[in-house]
């Protein structure tokens, strides 16, 4: 195969196979049919010529006696005797001649041969059909000796080769037909061969493609026991083990996720009990001795932190499990953002640009989570003034949150939405669960939008939330 490939670079397997078959068949046909045709044709023509010469000889016998210097009339007469329905004749003696050859020309080679006293023949073309022209010189017996000598009288006879031409044409036709048939047959055979090879190969290619797309159930149907079937079997076992391994991995992953989800849910109940009493504790702190008060405050604060962490964890496990869903509603985005800022007491801390009349179908609770997270981050890690700008661009709404701080380090940017990614290892734990931005990012994705982080050229970070104004679906 490599050898073939060297000769036919860049051609498909099918083309190469077809060409090889056709070339082979053409060569074989030329060899067999061509040779057969030539041989048969020569034999036929030779027989014809021999017969014609014999016949001419016997006819010439009828011309005798002829004088050595015959008159034109004699020559005409002789030509008349030699000619018949099909053949025409010409008899010449020196400059005198009688009869005609019906348009056939006597070539100089023929004339030369006849002059030398040989009997000669030649195939000539008369008005588009091949005829046989035979020429000979009469030999006359002189009165003095019994030896015959060339008399100078030359006889030319033209006779048709129609029957022979037809049989030769038939021969040629059958040779062509045989050749064409052989080539067609070769083509068909080549196609069949290419099919039997290429079919499985194409099947294999499709299957490999499907496997690559992640359809691990893909298997080939094996026909026969040849090398291609072996390849198919190998493919199947490979797919089998691949499916097995991927299944294993998926199972392990989903087990891990389920474990996280289960743990989070289990933590919820004790936290619900603890959270319920924290307010009572906080309200009573004033009446406690100082050290006990500190202890109570610590427990209360950490309970809140733990609650937030567990809530965020549960939220994340829901995204992972694909069970997070949107409760879409038609809202005035500026009002929704205003409500978020009011609820967090951030109205005075943020400079807003909230054009009225931007209406969108979104999940207000999730929008609140995202906006609160971005603004909270800017207030905590950036420097004032923190700005929030709402705009509508074509089919999307954009919410940009900027600050005037140092921005994000280059190495932090790609990881800013990772879970539990702490940009600053020294950052205190109380500043959030470490899941806030990851959840915000997931919420944007759930809406069919996106959340991006970048540094502004004039300094400070910019977080951009883009959401579709109308993600489709019903209210």
């Amino acid at each position: 195969m490599t050898g073939l490939r060297k000769f036919w670079p860049g051609w498909g397997l099918r083309t190469r196979l077809l060409l090889a078959f056709v070339l082979l068949s053409v060569l074989t046909t030329i060899a067999v049919a061509g040779f057969g045709y030539r041989t048969a044709r020569n034999t036929i023509l030779k027989n014809t010529q021999d017969n014609a010469v014999l016949e001419l000889r016997s006819r010439i016998q009828l011309l005798y006696p002829l004088p050595a210097q015959p008159s034109k009339d004699m020559l005409l007469n002789a030509a008349g005797k030699l000619a018949d329905r099909d053949a025409s004749a010409l008899v010449t003696a020196g400059n005198v001649s009688g009869g005609s050859l019906g348009g056939a020309r006597i070539s100089s080679e023929l004339r030369e041969q006849v002059d030398q006293g040989k009997i000669a023949w030649q195939r000539v073309d008369v008005g588009g059909e091949t005829r046989l022209l035979i020429g000979t010189q009469l030999r006359l017996t002189t009165s003095t000796s019994h030896v015959t000598e060339p008399s100078g009288i030359e006889i030319y006879v033209v006779q048709p080769l129609t029957a022979e031409s037809e049989s030769i044409a038939t021969l040629a036709r059958s040779a062509w037909l045989t050749g064409t048939g052989a080539v067609v047959l070769a083509l068909l055979l080549a196609l069949a061969a290419a099919r039997s090879v290429l079919g499985p190969v194409r099947e294999l290619r499709r299957a490999a493609h499907r496997l690559g797309e992640g359809d691990l159930d893909t298997r080939l149907t094996i026909h026969g026991t040849d090398e291609l079937a072996e390849v198919g079997k190998t493919f199947n076992t490979t797919a089998e083990s691949l499916q097995h391994h991927v299944g294993e991995l998926e199972r392990m992953e989903s087990d891990a996720r389920r474990f996280v989800a289960d743990v989070s849910h289990e933590l919820r109940t004790p936290l619900a009990a603890m959270t319920a009493v924290t307010e009572v504790l906080e309200a009573e702190v004033a009446g406690l001795p100082e050290i006990a008060g500190r202890a109570v405050r610590l427990v209360s604060q950490e309970t809140h932190n733990l609650t937030r962490l567990v809530n965020d964890l549960i939220e994340v496990t829901r995204f992972d499990a694909g069970s997070a869903s949107l409760a879409l509603d038609e809202v005035d985005v500026a009002e929704a953002i205003g409500a978020t800022l009011r609820a967090r007491g951030w109205v005075d801390a943020v400079a807003t640009e909230l054009p009225p009349g931007v209406r969108a179908r979104l999940d207000p609770r999730r929008l609140d989570v995202v906006v609160a997270n971005l603004v909270g981050n800017a207030l905590r890690h950036g420097a004032p003034p923190v700005r929030l700008r709402l705009s509508a661009v074509e089919e999307s709404l954009m919410i940009e949150v900027t600050d005037e701080g140092h921005g994000l380090k280059e190495e932090v940017l790609p990881h800013v939405f990772d879970r539990f990614y702490k940009a600053d290892t020294a950052r205190s734990r109380s500043e959030g669960s470490g899941l806030g931005l990851a959840i915000a990012w997931e919420n944007a994705k759930l809406h069919g939008g996106e959340l991006t982080a970048a540094n502004r050229p004039q300094g400070g970070a910019i977080f951009t939330l883009r959401l579709p104004l109308n993600p489709g679906g019903d209210a």
């Binding site: 959270t275 009572v280 809530n311 829901r318 038609e330 009011r342 207000p364 019903d474």
Partner: protein, 231 residues
């Protein structure tokens, strides 16, 4: 002070919530199962029920339906998650509101207050003063007496359903968004859950419409909200 019936199977949570609510000044009756809760209600009615959805034995939805069948006591559900099917199912079973565990006592307190306001006589009339009894088609609404009847027969509405109907019918023909209704009926701002409105509208329609699938009184305007009439 309002009397709260708390139905919660986990003892620590039950104790914690009882402590918190008692501290807020409520009289709290805490029980561990739906069956006990229903028995308790028939003997000694409460003002509001705080109900865990995940109960052993009779589940929270069933408890909800039974309480609804026998009266119009406000119900607040405690749910484990706020975006799953439980919330919708609970609201359809007749709950007025829900709180996600672990709940801040402050939040639970606010929800209880809001739901109790709906049952109380304090009405927040929108627009111009209305005649005492309004007629809208087959419906008559007595705003003062909080009585709604259809073709002369009184319709039993839960407090939230009543408040929603009053809110919508106060301005017939005007579209109110879900968020507006959340603020005026549930006392929840923009962070509220519009499913509260949708579920309540469904329940209200089942009671006052001839054909809930082709509503006449409470009409949906896709993408905008709800509108009373026009008839």
């Amino acid at each position: 002070m309002p009397r709260v019936l708390l139905i919660e199977d986990d003892q620590a949570v039950r104790d914690g919530l009882q402590i918190a609510l008692t501290y807020q000044g409520h009289t709290v009756d805490a029980v561990e199962s739906g069956e006990v809760g229903l028995t308790r209600l028939s003997a000694d009615p409460a003002d509001v029920v705080v109900l865990d959805l995940m109960l052993p034995g009779m589940d929270g939805f069933e408890v909800c339906r039974r309480i609804r069948a026998s009266g119009d006591l406000p119900i607040i559900m405690l749910t484990a998650r706020n975006d799953d099917i439980d919330v919708v199912a609970g609201l359809e079973a007749g709950a007025d509101d829900y709180v996600v565990k672990p709940a801040q006592p402050r939040v639970l307190e606010a929800r209880i207050k809001a739901v109790l306001r709906r049952t109380g006589g304090e009405q927040r009339q929108a627009g111009t003063p209305k005649p005492e009894v309004e007629r809208h088609g087959d419906l008559t609404i007595d705003r003062d007496g909080l009585v709604v009847s259809k073709q002369g027969r009184p319709v039993s509405l839960a407090p939230t359903e009543m408040r929603l109907l009053l809110e919508l019918s106060a301005s017939p023909g005007r579209v109110l968004s879900r968020q507006q209704l959340l603020e005026s009926v549930w006392d929840q701002g923009y962070l509220g859950d519009s499913r509260l409105v949708d579920a309540c509208v469904q329940r209200l329609r089942a009671k006052i419409e001839d054909d809930a699938a082709a509503p006449v009184y409470v009409q949906t305007l896709r993408g905008f909200g709800y509108r009373f009439g026009p008839l």
